[in-house]
Symmetry: C2
Subunit: 345 residues, 2 copies
């Protein structure tokens, strides 16, 4: 009884203080840096030379658009911990219209998954997919299609923060919320500062660069979110020997099933948040993902699925890595990885 009370007391103390204490510990890195896997040279010719002024007050200079361009490279930033407990590095892949900033500080200023996993002893690689963020994008002469730009309405209604169409309003006080939602809505406008343009025609280039990254730094574990989940499944099919585990966080698609058998030996867990049934788009997305996982099972694989509400974790939006309970979900992932023997105790 005394022992039980003591355990309970430590538990209560920890619920109040341990998270904060953990966040105050220094992050000790044996190295960090960045590099650009992938990329290819494209040569343009026959374009007119233009006169431009590069900086205000500077001289006029010629801009000759003809020549060699480096295109379709991908930016990767890495953080390698001093006291490593994860047996493999974790690669964190963001979703559509976003960048690696997804995994950093949350829009309301809390710690993100990058630092949570670093503090747990995992090496972390964060990328900006081809075309996004620090990866840049080529000229319309090389990519003829135009990018798509997201309104603030789009993520509010599509990321299961509000209850679908009509739930966003310019006035924050009038925005409708899915009941019990965990997204830090007071920082929603700040979240929309993370949005970058996306193309709808660049999947092959994105996947090629992700595979170049895998060939450079894996064996590894991949956490892939939303559109990134599509690339995660494709990359695991292409490199089942190097992608040692795939954590698909609300993959918007798992893609076609014709190569699903290739990942039958890859430990896979797919995680979904709350309110899926209440959004026809998410019903369609998850149906596609479940069909893929069924094909993996038919080939002898044993992919896991964690539907957070079914394990008592309620209210999660599509952006669960920045939801108020993001640490709780990081713990679910860390436990899954530990159960699969990917980390030291």
């Amino acid at each position: 009884m005394k022992a039980l009370i003591k355990t309970l007391a430590v538990g209560l103390f920890c619920a109040a203080f341990c998270v904060q204490a953990q966040a105050a510990d220094p992050i000790v890195l044996r190295d960090m840096g960045s590099f650009h896997p992938g990329g290819r040279i494209v040569e343009l010719s026959g374009q007119p030379v233009r006169d431009i002024v590069r900086v205000p007050g500077g001289p006029t200079s010629k801009l000759d658009p003809n020549g060699r361009y480096m295109v379709e490279q991908m930016y990767a930033q890495y953080f390698l911990v001093q006291n490593r407990k994860g047996k493999l590095p974790i690669l964190m892949w963001h979703g559509g219209g976003l960048t690696g900033a997804t995994y950093e500080t949350t829009p309301d200023g809390r710690e993100g998954w990058r630092d949570m996993f670093l503090r747990k002893g995992w090496d972390v690689y964060i990328t900006d997919a081809v075309e996004r963020g620090r990866s840049g994008f080529p000229s319309p002469d090389i990519w003829p299609s135009s990018p798509v730009f997201l309104t603030q309405t789009d993520p509010w209604e599509r990321f299961r923060i509000g209850p679908g169409p009509g739930s966003f309003d310019a006035d924050p006080a009038k925005r409708k919320l899915l009941p019990g939602n965990q997204f830090p809505i007071e920082a929603f406008d700040n979240f929309t500062k993370q949005i970058v343009p996306r193309w709808l025609t660049t999947d092959d280039a994105v996947l090629t660069a992700y595979i170049a990254l895998i060939d450079q730094v894996c064996p590894c574990v991949i956490i892939a979110h939303s559109q990134g989940g599509f690339f995660g499944f494709r990359a695991a099919e292409a490199r089942p020997d190097k992608v040692k585990a795939l954590i698909a966080v609300e993959p918007a698609s798992a893609g076609p099933t014709d190569h699903a058998a290739d990942v039958k030996n890859v430990p896979i867990v797919t995680i979904f948040g709350d309110y899926i049934d209440q959004d026809p788009r998410w019903v369609a997305y998850s149906k596609n993902v479940f069909a893929y996982l069924d094909a993996v099972r038919a080939a002898g694989g044993k992919p896991d699925v964690i539907e957070l509400p079914k394990i008592g974790i309620k209210g999660n939006s599509h952006m669960m890595m920045m939801d108020r309970n993001n640490r709780e979900i990081a713990e679910v992932i860390a436990k899954w990885l530990a159960d699969k023997d990917f980390s030291e105790p």
Copy 2:
């Protein structure tokens, strides 16, 4: 004599091993993260609604471009050291067509200025200017002008790696080099992976976001490179009370002189590399900068100028933070900051 031999021996040992030993020490951070200063809401209306497929195999969905957009925010990533010796944080601002990656790992895989200054005990903030990298850019409905895309020829010939027009060749073996150049030319193609598109019409938006950053995190010291130098001088004019020192690394322009008097009390050092006289564009750029500095002096200021060849440091290109001797130049900057009493011994 014995003491001299001992000093000499330590010196020889250190020349061979101390740099590597330093790089092998862990980087200990009390915190790191990211945020987005600046940004404003723009509302679009009257545009047609389009049907798009967001992910392969996914359902068709409507894209309504009308609505509210967050635009002109800036991405800032920070690294705060555990054992602080710099009295103020250093903000590192990149040049045109580049991102904050400028200050990270060099294209040939050596340590960049970010980590060198962290190891010296400075807190570091690195930004992607508005429109670049993780800051994103708005649709043509909001910014009507088109971005400029740089060929590989452009930086080779304009950043004083090769001797101007005609010095670049598709074949690395045929590229002409300024004699003694310090740029890691074997990694030049890799360097061009850092290039991102730039607009020529966005100076006001970029400066507004930089000033928002300053209001958020300064007093501070700013290291600003190339086009970033233009913004560094403008920001120092706007916030001379918060920009406690400006290190302008090859500013491509210092801009108009009409507010130069506003920075008369700000410690300023402008650093130029080698070969300036051999490139008419750099003669023009530096002339503009010297005229600005003369205006600061006329107002009673005492800006410093360091022309690296004059202090015996030869062969530096425009990208000196990634040149082979980048550590030597970081030491020059660190010494200037120490002389101005911005760091603990």
